[in-house]
């Protein structure tokens, strides 16, 4: 393994470009978490970091270690495969949990369940709560 100061300049510039580019894309995604209004809209933002942000950072990593060890280092592809397979599962779980709760609360912002089995039972407290809200208006 060579020392860091032997690292060629062209490769250093490319690696920096990939890593900084990937970090910038991930930052935009995190900014989306801050700026987007509803929960469902916010679920779209972190996918930026999990797709292109991850991809460019891994390209930088593969390039750096390939040049440093003067042999192709490609096992970063495993990180890409496992992140791509697991992130959507988490996002779908979160979004479906939100949808289930919104439907249970009878929220008008989400499409209603099309079949009865899908619809969660309205909690008894929903009526009590609306009574409590009346005097407030």
């Amino acid at each position: 393994m060579t020392l860091a100061h032997d690292f060629p300049v062209w490769a250093a510039i490319l690696v920096a470009f990939f890593v900084l580019g990937g970090s910038a894309i991930t930052l935009v995604g995190s900014l989306g978490l801050l700026r987007l209004g509803t929960f469902y809209a916010r679920t779209h933002a972190p996918t930026l970091g999990a797709t292109m942000g991850m991809g460019t950072i891994l390209c930088g990593s593969a390039l750096y270690f390939s040049v440093l060890e003067t042999r192709p280092v490609v096992h970063e592809v495993l990180i890409a495969v496992f992140i791509t397979l697991t992130t959507p599962v988490t996002l779908m779980l979160l979004a479906r949990a939100a949808l289930y709760r919104d439907r249970a609360e009878g929220s008008p912002d989400v499409p209603a369940a099309e079949r009865m089995e899908e619809a969660p039972q309205r909690p008894e407290s929903a009526e009590n709560r609306s009574e409590h809200e009346e005097p407030a208006r």
Binding site: T38, R42, M52, L78
Partner: protein, 162 residues
């Protein structure tokens, strides 16, 4: 041969995983990896998962290419919305798409494609009606999204799995 390799694709994928993790293609690692991959496939056989049949391997690569291009394009689109829209997420909304595909493996792959593409998320699939509920960040024209998902992904997935 099928008693030795009940799930040949799984065995091959596990062997590739082993060789990548060890960063070596020496004969010793290939033998060790093969033994482990075959044992793991036997354990998997005890669960009797449904065996996917990949009919057109060429279509797999075409689909992967299309999805890669679409992911880059949606990254740019969603990034632009987050950075430049005065009130981002104003166009966000739910939509329903009728699907013709019934294959569970095809639907699983479609759910991963749709959710990992920025700007769309898979919410609910109604197996009885064959409809899919989506949430889309930039819902200006529903027909564009229906054309993308049915024309670009579902058609290829049906070629592969059905």
């Amino acid at each position: 041969m099928s008693w030795l390799l009940p799930y040949p694709l799984l065995t091959a994928a596990l062997l590739a995983l082993w060789l990548l993790l060890n960063q070596s293609v020496s004969p010793g690692q290939i033998i060790l990896g093969s033994v482990l991959a075959i044992l793991a496939a036997w354990m998997m056989a005890a669960l009797r998962p449904q065996k996917p049949r990949i009919r057109r391997p060429v279509a797999v690569f075409r689909l992967a290419g299309i999805v890669l291009v679409d992911i880059v394009r949606s990254n740019l689109a969603v990034g632009t919305i987050i950075l430049s829209a005065r009130k981002p997420g104003l166009n966000a909304g739910f939509m329903t798409i009728p699907l013709d595909m019934k294959s569970p493996q095809g639907l699983a792959v479609l759910s991963i494609i749709i959710t990992s593409t920025p700007g769309t998320i898979w919410l609910n699939y109604d197996a009885a009606k064959g409809t899919l509920l989506l949430h889309v960040l930039d819902l200006v024209d529903e027909t564009v999204w229906i054309r993308t998902i049915k024309g670009r992904y579902e058609r290829l997935l049906m070629e592969i799995f059905e």
